[in-house]
């Protein structure tokens, strides 16, 4: 059975963008800090609009922020 796994580079991108805090990113994309924490730790897969907002905040494409890996189990 195939199991999907989302990976993301949000934490790395935050630090590359002037040590942006989780709260600053949350304010920019219009979510709570808890949601950013959940996304960074891979516990929450954001919606497509939110994923686009995050990517645009960092000025990169969505694929550079989120990666989708499918693995056989």
């Amino acid at each position: 059975m195939a199991k999907s796994e989302m990976q993301n580079q949000v934490r790395r991108l935050r630090f590359e963008h002037g040590q942006m805090t989780q709260q600053q990113l949350a304010d920019k994309v219009g979510v709570t800090r808890q949601t950013i924490i959940a996304i960074e730790s891979g516990k929450y897969a954001p919606s497509l609009p939110l994923a686009f907002r995050i990517a645009r905040t960092f000025g990169v494409s969505i694929e550079q922020v989120f990666q989708y890996n499918e693995r056989e189990t």
């Binding site: 709570t32 808890q34 949601t35 924490i37 516990k43 929450y44 939110l50």
Partner: protein, 149 residues
């Protein structure tokens, strides 16, 4: 702790109070004056507490109107949606149990007071609120999928 989580705790405790306080009073009344008075007092108690419960969001909004930060987003919405689904399942089990237990107690040819019907509905409301609050808290607290770390 975000505002939704605080709200869930408050809803949980108010829901619990809606059930426990009138229930305690009803048990006391049942011992003091007989079982026939108990449903009336329980009904009054739940209505009073339920009324205060529905006022709570308006009071909360007045207290927090100065804040402009995002306090409810898509993740909170998802958690709430799941909590409502869980609460609905609990409510359904409660109604089935209420029907089956009544049948078991009075038997197939027995009869029950019509007072039981509004009480069952009010009990359903309280149980729904309680289950929803609890499901929200579990999702926020466990740190699992979609949970807050």
């Amino acid at each position: 702790m975000n505002e939704t989580k605080v709200g869930s705790w408050l809803y949980f405790f108010i829901g619990l109070a809606c059930f426990l306080i009138p229930g305690g009073v009803a048990i006391f009344i049942a011992y003091d004056r007989g079982i026939s008075f108990a449903p009336v007092f329980m009904f009054a108690g739940i209505v009073i507490w339920g009324g205060l419960f529905w006022l709570f969001p308006f009071i909360e909004k007045k207290v927090r109107k100065g804040k402009k930060k995002v306090s409810f987003d898509e993740r909170d919405q998802l958690i709430h949606k799941r909590a409502v689904m869980v609460a609905y399942a609990v409510l359904w089990i409660y109604f089935v149990a209420a029907c089956v237990i009544a049948w078991c107690i009075v038997g197939p040819h027995g009869s029950i007071s019509v007072n039981v019907m509004p009480l069952t509905l009010l009990g359903g409301l309280v149980i729904f609120t309680l289950a929803q609050g609890l499901a929200c808290l579990i999702q926020y607290g466990r740190g699992g999928k979609d949970g807050e770390k």
